[in-house]
Symmetry: C2
Amino acid sequence: MYNLPMKLWQIGEFGLIEIITEFLNKSGVGDTPEHDILIGVGDDAAAWRSQGAPQLGTTDILIQDVHFSLDIITWRELGWKALAVNISDIAAMGGIPRHALVSLGLPSDTEVEQVLEMYQGMAEIAKRFALSIIGGDVVKAPLVIISPSVVGMAGNNILTRSAALPGDLIAVTGYLGSSAAGLRMLKAGLELDEETAGYLRQAHLCPLPRVGEGELLAQHGVRAAIDLSDGLVADLDKICQASRVGARVMTNRVPIHPLVLAAFERDSLRLALSGGEDYELLFTARGDVIEGTKSLMSSPVTIIGEIVAEPRRVTLLDEEGKAMEWEGGGWEHFRDERFA
Amino acid sequence: MYNLPMKLWQIGEFGLIEIITEFLNKSGVGDTPEHDILIGVGDDAAAWRSQGAPQLGTTDILIQDVHFSLDIITWRELGWKALAVNISDIAAMGGIPRHALVSLGLPSDTEVEQVLEMYQGMAEIAKRFALSIIGGDVVKAPLVIISPSVVGMAGNNILTRSAALPGDLIAVTGYLGSSAAGLRMLKAGLELDEETAGYLRQAHLCPLPRVGEGELLAQHGVRAAIDLSDGLVADLDKICQASRVGARVMTNRVPIHPLVLAAFERDSLRLALSGGEDYELLFTARGDVIEGTKSLMSSPVTIIGEIVAEPRRVTLLDEEGKAMEWEGGGWEHFRDERFA
């Protein structure tokens, strides 16, 4: 689109908005009729038909050098991940993402090409999940800020953190710890074999939210779920708090990818328990309900423990069923330093 | 709520979220049944009933030292204004704001009390417009970032920028230039009489979005509108571009508040034409439609010009109807420096 490198201060806010709008419409993720959009990018607000279904809304903000480092992530990956973490929140409710609004803060010397690469990443994940990008805001900032909001549609059964019951089994989709292993590799510059490096980079920078899985869970009687963003123990603890229950996790059942096991050996379990950013779904339900969903899902589903009445916290059990000491928490803002 | 000064790093992200949630519920703007909320703050996403009406969504991000200076604005005013500018976008579509999601970036040494003051400001404007705050995100950042998204409901007639027709008259609500006059006073430390100073501070820091007015316009046949955020000429130009029309503005008709006229005299017109952030509504319609709306509105409505076929831009006319030279634009990010 641009042969010459051009910076944002050279084209201004309105020039940039025009370029982004054109890009979105060309990519087929902008103002497209099949998304029930009444008014897309370019007015004071966007408008869409709701068809009477319950609406879901979520927002997760990503800030340079807090959530990501431009030394590690490409602009395309950044666009993908910024939408992925929001889509994952909709998936955790059993909903289908429909529309995104994207607020951006960008330094004036950002290249137009970099912004378009970021939108390319957003367009790729938007297409994958039939999501349309229908509005937003672009402003000057001293560092890169991406603040997407995603609106989705739910069926009659919405998955919540507060619906876990004693007697439920606890299950997770996919593998845990891969994203944290990827971050460790990228930060430390570990040299791993090509297959492992590719898998870990993908896991950390381009996570795939479990939208189809969440929808299936909601349709087949699961009631409680959360997406794993802060780490297994921290996120399961949120279920315990919201549902006023306890959880017992058999740590030897926690699914860890063979490539992570091979590369990180003894550290793998810690990565899986507290690493975070896997964006897998954790859910609880009666055993027969979970067994019923397993056969429907294309991704692995692993039962890792059970919900109990007391004590109201996460208890980790070792191979012999004995409670383990655990002082490693999950990610918490204002307390932790990630890239700082 | 807190007797001792406490900083965010002392209570952490989850402590802060708990305090905010408690505050919102106490204020009656959180998870309240009358707002059709299915799931409020505290889960992966919020959920609400849509009743089948068209939904509106908007997001405007505010960044410290780009959009505001903490030397000038209080935390309470900041909370008010951050929601006001988003509510105004819903008003400009003729819709009713319903729900807000608020993403926040805050430095770790921010006082908990300051965050609660900001939520106090948000709660005040939320109550005023029966808006509920149903979710968000709080993260660490090197400077203060507020990124609200507001979802609203529209009737059958949605006001757009692209519906202006040649022959329409152009009207605005309220007075223009007051916000820019307020900013000038606050930045330069001008000492004005108490009444003027109070009016100007309010105009710049606590604008009142024209929600009822927008709704009335939509109900009574107006089709085209925009809220005045970047300045009269800049925003009217957006209508011209979107509707492929031109506009002629009789500058002597532009409504300027008597206190602004008295304090800024010759500069008043420039403030009114290019100042921005007034969050009044500009709309266009046939003369009889505009006359019909005037009697229904409690706020002043002033006809300031007309829509023409050509030329497709804003033409400013002086008292004698002659075209004026005009080189002053509106606000544009990446090109302008406000607080920098």
